[in-house]
């Protein structure tokens, strides 16, 4: 359209009223601004901190917090690109296996005399290749991401076992283990936490402030229309899966550095925590909706929950159960809210509401059991 479009009022068309649209969003009330998922997460975090500090005297210890925060930085590093992928409507189940493949590859090279830093760089590259492979299958061959990454989930883990067998690679130099164990000079802040914060800010800015980030939302909301608008959808998908692979590789280095060794079963099951963190953070599992801030907050929530459970000697398997239930709840809650807002509704909706209520009830029961068992532990100790 050119600059001048004089008042060409056609016959019969309703083109009378002057201004038809405003450039500004309507004012929202003070309270309405707090009706956001992120604020709910902040509330939950406060609740967890309060409960845990009541239940265990060690919870609010700075040294403990510092150590525990580095415990879930690998999850965080993999969560950042996972947010991208889920927003485009995809999923990457292979991240933890890719992590193991990269860490094992680095260990394998190191044990064959390759200096640690070139080995680490090669591992990062392998991670990116692993992600690229996922991306090509999803975007070019157009296979469903769930199936593709379930396949590579098994495959990459297998590569790790082929490389290392039943042995562990160890003996990494201190300069390397620093990225997993070290703290920033003169502070209690672990290096890995600083790395995560830096990357989280970059990923957040890319998601919310760049045209690339915008196209991720567009793809997740309507891939067809996005393609019609000239957005290279396939290329963008390949890029996000490749980034996911690269970050899985980086997480592998950090985890190997933290342990000081690599075994092929490194990071088993972390993809569950990664996906839970993203989804609990308000990233819609169906794509198109989500914020990086929410995801980071939910990571913090999950980390604090695990830390609290660990302090109370709750077994890892039980922790896994809690995280799994949390994942279901985080997908369910928005649905329940939506169903509730459609008051009345059909029998179908009421059926869904009943299911939701049942699941929430299971949750509450589980929570009560959880706190009861904690009290037992405390009483005994």
């Amino acid at each position: 359209m050119t600059e001048s479009r004089p008042n060409a009022a056609p016959q019969g068309a309703e083109r009378s009223a002057g201004a038809t649209i405003s450039a500004f969003p309507p004012r929202r009330s003070f309270l309405a601004r707090f009706q956001r998922w992120e604020w709910m997460l902040v509330g939950l975090i406060a609740l967890v901190v309060l409960l845990n500090s009541q239940l265990s005297p060690y919870f609010l210890d700075a040294r403990n917090l510092s150590r525990t925060s580095s415990d879930f930085m690998e999850i965080g590093l993999m969560m950042l690109p996972m947010v991208f992928i889920i927003i485009t409507g995809g999923i990457d189940l292979s991240v933890a296996s890719n992590l193991a493949m990269c860490a094992s590859f680095m260990g394998w090279l190191f044990m064959r005399g390759v200096p640690i830093w070139p080995a680490a760089l090669a591992a990062l590259l392998l991670g990116a290749l692993g992600g690229l492979f996922n991306g090509l299958l999803v975007a070019r061959v157009k296979l469903p991401p769930l199936v593709v990454t379930l396949g590579t989930y098994a495959f990459y883990r297998g590569v790790a076992y082929v490389l290392l067998g039943d042995q562990a690679a160890r003996g990494y130099p201190a300069s390397f283990t620093y990225i997993g164990q070290g703290k920033l000079p003169g502070t209690l802040i672990p290096f890995s936490v600083a790395l995560f914060i830096l990357l989280a800010i970059i990923f957040g800015l890319v998601l919310h402030r760049t045209s690339f980030g915008r196209t991720l939302f567009a793809i997740g909301n309507n891939e067809n229309a996005t393609a019609y608008s000239g957005v290279p959808v396939a290329r963008i998908k390949i890029i996000v899966y490749t980034i996911s692979g690269l970050m899985a590789g980086l997480a592998g280095l950090v985890l190997a550095a933290r342990f000081g060794s690599t075994r092929p079963d490194i990071g088993v099951g972390l993809e569950l925590a990664v996906i839970t963190a993203a989804v609990l953070g308000g990233v819609d599992i169906n794509g198109g909706i989500g914020t990086m801030g929410g995801a980071v907050l939910s990571l913090l929530l999950i980390g604090l929950l695990r830390f609290g459970m660990g302090l109370l000697n709750i077994q890892g398997q039980v922790q896994g159960m809690v995280i799994g239930l949390l994942l279901i709840l985080s997908i369910l809650l928005p649905n329940v809210a939506r169903t509730l807002s459609l008051r009345g509704g059909s029998t179908h909706q009421r059926g869904r509401l009943a299911t939701a209520a049942a699941v929430v009830a299971v949750f509450v029961l589980f929570g009560l059991f959880f706190f009861w068992s904690r009290a037992q532990v405390l009483g005994a100790g």
């Binding site: 016959q11 760049t210 196209t215 939302f217 000239g230 198109g288």
Partner: protein
């Protein structure tokens, strides 16, 4: 003359306030083939869905064998003996012929297991009584479309359907297969079944139908004996509107060739499509749904690139393999399906409008929010989009306003060649007129416009030249002066001489 078996009396049907059927009556006698005829959007499919209980009418009555009935669901009408065979066939691809015929009603032994012997025996009897020759154990996915249709018909008859509705059954059959189908239809007619037959091919209707009911714009026009109505009269009944001056294409100076398409082919979809489009010109593309017009537009725009042929943009040969390339060459496509291809309904108007031009609203990849907002606001204002503000989600707007958003989005790319696919389908009269005025104005500014439309008055009112497509080929080309509705309909519906097709 026998009593009607099925009678629809003054059926009215509304979808979200829009009347798609207005007091339509239809009566069907046993032992007749009754054709249902009308342009795209005349209400044929809706009427069929009322007969089969998919839709419930908002007004009017349905009488079956003289009794008033109400069908609340498809199975209710099925039990009453009404079966429909739709364009999209609905067999289970991995079940065999016999299983498909009896699916859901398989004979069982006393132990509750499938009684295969009875199943095959009954299927065999049924098929031979219909004179069909099919391998009972063949899986449905290995059958041709024609054979699948036979199975569907057999299934319908196995549940004693006395009324059979066939929605464009011949659209994907070869001539010999059509002959086979017609033999079957005649046989059913002799047995006293009543058949509702929908087809756009007038020749076929003369061959098979006894009576014809014509619908137009959701209203009943006339029911006539097929033998006593001429082809021209039939077309006149179908289109019979007088074109109002609602379509104000102004005279413009026609400039250089903006888009030239030569022998464009997408295997199996369209063949040898050639045309020229000049600056300031509106080229209308008429034809029936499924004639391949949308596919041509998608091919030119790079959504699904053609397998062969040549595209020239402003005198230079162009190879367009993605929408991005098309946009860079100055093309824009307003697609037929707003919800699916035009808009991102859950996102706000700003994001929707800026999407094709994100690169120009950003510096080194960083979005410049103010620039994006201002551009989107300006585009929305120029198109007079009616919404509270530009941060509203696209899905909250009415159909007409959504279309304006799509237009705002594409006009903000400052195209020199604009392809509009059904630009006014399903939108209100006011917005429609506004869009027509806009098209005329854009052509006046030198834009080249290719407009696909199934609405004849729109094609004739807006176009400088008209291209008619049928079954993936351009069958006629008219200048504005030459074109009449009858000529266009004739080119859009005539069967190409045998041997030339397929």
């Amino acid at each position: 003359m026998s009593e009607p078996i099925l009678e629809l009396k003054e059926i009215t049907k509304r979808f979200s306030g829009v009347e798609v059927l207005h007091q339509v009556s239809f009566s069907l006698r046993p032992g007749e083939v009754h054709a249902l005829l009308g342009e795209n959007g005349a209400g044929k499919s809706t009427l069929v869905k009322v007969m089969t209980g998919v839709h419930q009418p908002d007004g009017g009555e349905i009488h079956l064998n003289g009794q008033r009935v109400e069908f609340n669901a498809p199975h209710a009408s099925l039990q009453a003996g009404i079966a429909a065979i739709y364009q999209e066939l609905s067999l289970f691809p991995d079940l065999n012929v016999a299983e498909n015929i009896f699916v859901g009603r398989q004979p069982t032994t006393t132990g509750g297991r499938l009684d295969w012997r009875t199943l095959y025996r009954e299927a065999e009897q049924l098929l031979s009584s219909l004179g069909m020759h099919l391998d009972l154990k063949q899986k449905a996915r290995n059958l041709s479309i024609a054979q699948q249709q036979m199975v569907e018909i057999a299934r319908a008859l196995s549940i004693n359907a006395r009324i059979l509705i066939m929605d464009e059954p011949t659209s994907s059959l070869t001539l010999t297969e059509v002959a086979e189908l017609f033999r079957l239809v005649r046989r059913l007619r002799e047995d006293g079944a009543a058949i509702v037959f929908i087809s756009h091919r007038l020749e076929e209707l003369y061959e098979i139908a006894d009576r014809v009911t014509v619908l137009r714009d959701g209203t009943y026009v006339e029911t006539r004996e097929m033998a006593q109505i001429s082809r021209d009269e039939l077309i006149r009944l179908m289109v019979g509107r007088t074109i109002s001056n609602l379509f104000p294409k102004q005279e413009t100076t026609i400039g250089d060739v903006a888009l030239k398409v030569e022998n464009l082919t997408l295997d199996g979809v369209f063949e040898n499509v050639s045309f020229e489009l000049r600056q300031g010109e509106i080229l209308g593309m008429a034809g029936l749904v499924g004639a391949g017009r949308t596919d041509v537009a998608r091919a030119i725009f790079g959504v699904e690139p053609p397998t062969s042929g040549r595209i020239e943009v402003e005198g230079k040969a162009a190879s367009i393999t993605s929408p991005q390339q098309a946009i860079d060459l100055g093309l824009a496509l307003v697609p037929e399906d707003r919800q699916l291809h035009g808009l991102i309904p859950p996102m706000n108007l700003v994001a929707n409008i800026s999407l094709p031009m994100l690169a120009s609203y950003s510096r080194r990849g960083w979005l410049r929010a103010k620039q994006e907002r201002d551009a989107a606001f300006q585009a929305a204002q120029q198109m007079e989009v009616r919404a509270n503000n530009i941060w509203q989600r696209a899905r909250e707007l009415s159909g007409g306003n959504q279309q304006k958003v799509v237009l705002a989005k594409w006009l903000s790319t400052k195209p020199r060649i604009l392809i509009l696919d059904e630009p006014t389908r399903g939108i209100d009269v006011g917005t429609k007129a506004a869009i027509h005025a806009l098209m005329s104005e854009l052509a006046g500014q030198g834009l080249a416009i290719l407009m696909i439309s199934s609405e004849l008055p729109e094609v004739m009112g807006m176009s400088d030249r008209i291209l008619v497509m049928r079954e993936g080929r351009v069958t006629a080309q008219f200048t504005r002066g030459e074109a009449t509705q009858e000529k266009i309909m004739s080119a859009a519906t005539q069967t190409i001489a045998a041997g030339e097709t397929r």
